[in-house]
Symmetry: C2
Subunit: 386 residues, 2 copies
Amino acid sequence: MRPVAIVGAGKTPFGTLPDQDLRSLAVAAGEKALRNAHVEPAAVDSFYLGNFAGPEFTAQNHLAPYISTALGMAGIPSTRFEAACASSGAAFFQAFMGVASGIYDMVMVVGVEKMTCQPTPRVTEILAGAGDCATEVKAGSTFPSLFAMIARRHMHDFGTTRRHLSAVAVKNHENGALNPDAQMRKVITLDQAMNARPIAEPLNLYDCSLISDGAAAVVLCAADRAHEFSERPVKVLGVAQASDWVALDRKPDITTFAAVRGAARKAYEMAGLGPGDIHFAELHDCFTIAEIVALEDLGFVARGRGGFFSAEGCTRRDGPMPINASGGLKSKGHPVGATGVAQICDLVQQIRCEAGDRQLKRHSVGLAQNLGGSGATCVVTILGGR
Amino acid sequence: MRPVAIVGAGKTPFGTLPDQDLRSLAVAAGEKALRNAHVEPAAVDSFYLGNFAGPEFTAQNHLAPYISTALGMAGIPSTRFEAACASSGAAFFQAFMGVASGIYDMVMVVGVEKMTCQPTPRVTEILAGAGDCATEVKAGSTFPSLFAMIARRHMHDFGTTRRHLSAVAVKNHENGALNPDAQMRKVITLDQAMNARPIAEPLNLYDCSLISDGAAAVVLCAADRAHEFSERPVKVLGVAQASDWVALDRKPDITTFAAVRGAARKAYEMAGLGPGDIHFAELHDCFTIAEIVALEDLGFVARGRGGFFSAEGCTRRDGPMPINASGGLKSKGHPVGATGVAQICDLVQQIRCEAGDRQLKRHSVGLAQNLGGSGATCVVTILGGR
């Protein structure tokens, strides 16, 4: 395998965007990434689309050629990758292999989701399709309730508190308030976060990520040619995907995800790095408890200590391990199929020192963790600027 | 790239299968392929699922880990690939690259669709999502009507007749009647085929493929290790995927598909073969006219001659270019996400001389053409037994 670099990245703002449809969002992000890479559409060898539930949200299916042709790329292989909320992480993983193996010289990955064209109950129902419909969903589970069970168990086993969860929300809102592309640029107090209306106890409104429209895109090429396209290419140091049972009840322990540990182990191994070498990370905080569990599964803190670590301020921008400096899914927004590539764009922005008010001091090695369902898919990506 | 071989293949029967759900179908095919390859689930490095619209047909999404875990493969990368009716062709294409590049030693590809749990009008609506919803679908087009326009234009430009279309149907039904796994094992007369009730004129009932449940699976490994697993491994000589606009009205000529010509050109080039070297083929006869157009786009006959060639009996099992000896989508059935891998299983069966009453005399080099939408995606695969 040869080294691979990101030479272009582009995102749309995330939010409720009534004037944009699924394709216009994807095309906007794709065109930004192409411009950022100084690459013409004709130079792209293969197109990778991450999208979770476009057909259910918008009726349109067969989405990869639908978008790649509009980007001026008719002819090349164009495929959609689905792995729930890790769909564009999965697309990125496959795209990386396409270049690393030498099959392709230049590829594009786009992640997109258009969620706000459906009423909220229908969105919740569509998202529940990433759970096991025959068992947990049939029994009434939605994703807030699944992660509520995870939170409850984490509290029971490790002494994690309501305040720990809220500390994650307060920090991510503080970061997102500085991100011009974030959906909810709103600082919240700990008191607000702790006393918001319940969604699925112990989770309340501020523990849950948002329903969003948005897209993100990157252009990848062989690292030895990256300087032809970008003054600041970003190297893919490691990337791995792992899987586990979809149903939460099939997991022997619901406070740790085998798919996250598995993907992290392989990504660290590929990068020749460990958790201590990572300067900052974008974690999949679909719910506040998910960020806490990810901190532990990625080895940033000991098992059970994620809540305490967060409440002590260690994951703030000025802390020893800044997490979700972008605002995370919580404040930046969570257009599910876009999230994996959006996290990678956020890493690129930090590594290139382009993060403005959110710029971190230590920003050379970043990690993104993209989760699908309640831990059935995970993609871990490690990028570096050196 | 290193040579790749198929060491295991397995299919479920196709049909209306009320006792089987999406996962049990996929697992049944997957287990057959594993047994056929004498491979344990633990030996599989990565799982590739082709599925078009499982979430819309069955509500279940996040389908790749949902199925791979049930096959005993928890942990490995498990991703769903969507490219309309070419979804499992696209999954096979990516899986091939995974092994050819040396990243994986052994991978599994499964294609599946469970369509009969929805009423027919809803199936037609879901399938229409593979067209352009904002233009052609909004204007009332369904796939029968899109292919009816293609047929009408082909008749106008080249003198193709109603009888030519029916000759394709009669031949595919004759073949399918000999296939124990086919959905509709029913010989039909030319008279029946020509006078069936209209669906979208000039297409009638017998010009249209079926609504089906079914799954198909293959196991791929590096060719130099194939004999460890199979006495009769089948080599992947060439495989390519190409794309084009989703909307039919964006194509300058609707009687030929650029994606098919593009994928064929690359697959022939990879195999070092031309159309004259192919002994037999499985073509994507979602409608009879599609088989005729594919004959031309793949170079088996000159432009405009596909109908005449078919009516002359040249594509029958005893003809110079046997097409769809399996019965094709027309008679075997068309569980859309399964079709691409099912075609590959049909090639494997012929190449291994396991096709029973349908066994062809010349069967060493076979080609499969898997089409998505009205020509927006095409995957062409060439297999050989020598």
